[in-house]
Amino acid sequence: MDNPIITNQIPVIPVQAVPTLSTAAIIMQKLRSPWAGIAAIIAIFLIGSLIVSGTKSTTPTTLVPTPTPTTIPTPTPQRTPSAIASQSAFQALDTSVQSLANDLNGLSIRDPSLSPPVLDLPLGFSNN
């Protein structure tokens, strides 16, 4: 039976030649992938939102005073009725004035029912 020969030498595995690419070419290749485009858009969006929020936070916030309802009643002038206000003559006159005002508002000057009839006066004969 043969004993295996043990040697301290590491077997040399032949390495296949890998095509090497330059760093710029690799980056360009990665940038061409659709994920890179989406990532770029998200990044631009995030940066934009950060800028906008930053500018907003820098502007000083002004407090708009909101009016609060007051419960102070407005004073209504107390007017004393005159001596004649309670007279029946005054009240009857007031009613008459209101009635006349209403009648005048409803009065129409133009009455279409009074329009004259429309006639074709010439008879239309040839020797007419």
């Binding site: 005002a101 005048l104 009065l107 000057i109």
Partner: protein
């Protein structure tokens, strides 16, 4: 057809006459004036219709029609004058009511003048003056309409229509003056309602 035309015009004139009979605002003289205009036109139409019984040819028919045609502007002016008369009568009814109320208000103010302060009296007097001014403007419009209406005459129907429309417009303005005067009366009543 000729007699139907006369009948139509007669019926319309009777309608105007009825409106005049119903009127309560015109003076007796004014009403008689318009009713006389209507009566004249009805007489013409009756005579015209009577003559139609003797029509025997187309020439007679044409001549009969031309009789009405040549007279029609006079008839038309009479109709328009009467319509304006009816409008004036309507306005006059309201003006009479206004005058009655105005006189009563003036009497009430005169009787109770001492119950108000001098400042209040001055306010009341200003309202009374304003009311009198508006009433005067109303009267001026009515007189202008009356003058135009009494002289309404033309050979052209369009011209009569134009004058009629101008008088209608003036009547509208007269009504407006009366309404404003009544509004001032309301203000006077409000002034009288309170002591100060």
């Amino acid at each position: 057809m000729l007699s139907q035309r006369d009948e139509l015009l007669r019926a319309y004139l009777f309608l105007l006459n009825e409106k005049l009979n119903e009127d309560r605002g015109l003076t007796a003289t004014g009403k008689q004036l318009y009713q006389a205009l209507i009566a004249n036109e009805v007489t013409f139409l009756n005579a015209h219709k009577d003559r139609m019984t003797s029509i025997g040819s187309i020439e007679d028919t044409v001549n009969s029609s031309k009789e009405l045609e040549s007279h029609y502007t006079i008839l038309y002016a009479s109709m328009r004058q009467t319509i304006i008369g009816i409008i004036l009568g309507n306005l006059s009814v309201h003006a009479q009511r206004f005058d009655t109320i105005g006189t009563t208000a003036q009497a009430l103010v005169n009787t109770n003048r001492g119950a108000f302060t001098p400042q209040k009296q001055a306010t009341i007097d200003r309202w009374l003056l304003q009311i009198a001014n508006k009433r005067s403007l109303y009267q001026q419009k009515i007189e202008a309409i009356n003058t135009t209406n009494n002289q309404l005459k033309s050979n052209y129907q369009e011209e009569i229509d134009r004058s009629f429309q101008a008088m209608q417009k003036d009547a509208g303005e007269a009504k407006q003056y009366l309404a404003e005067a009544t509004g001032n009366l309301t203000e006077l009543m409000n002034a009288l309602l309170y002591q100060d």
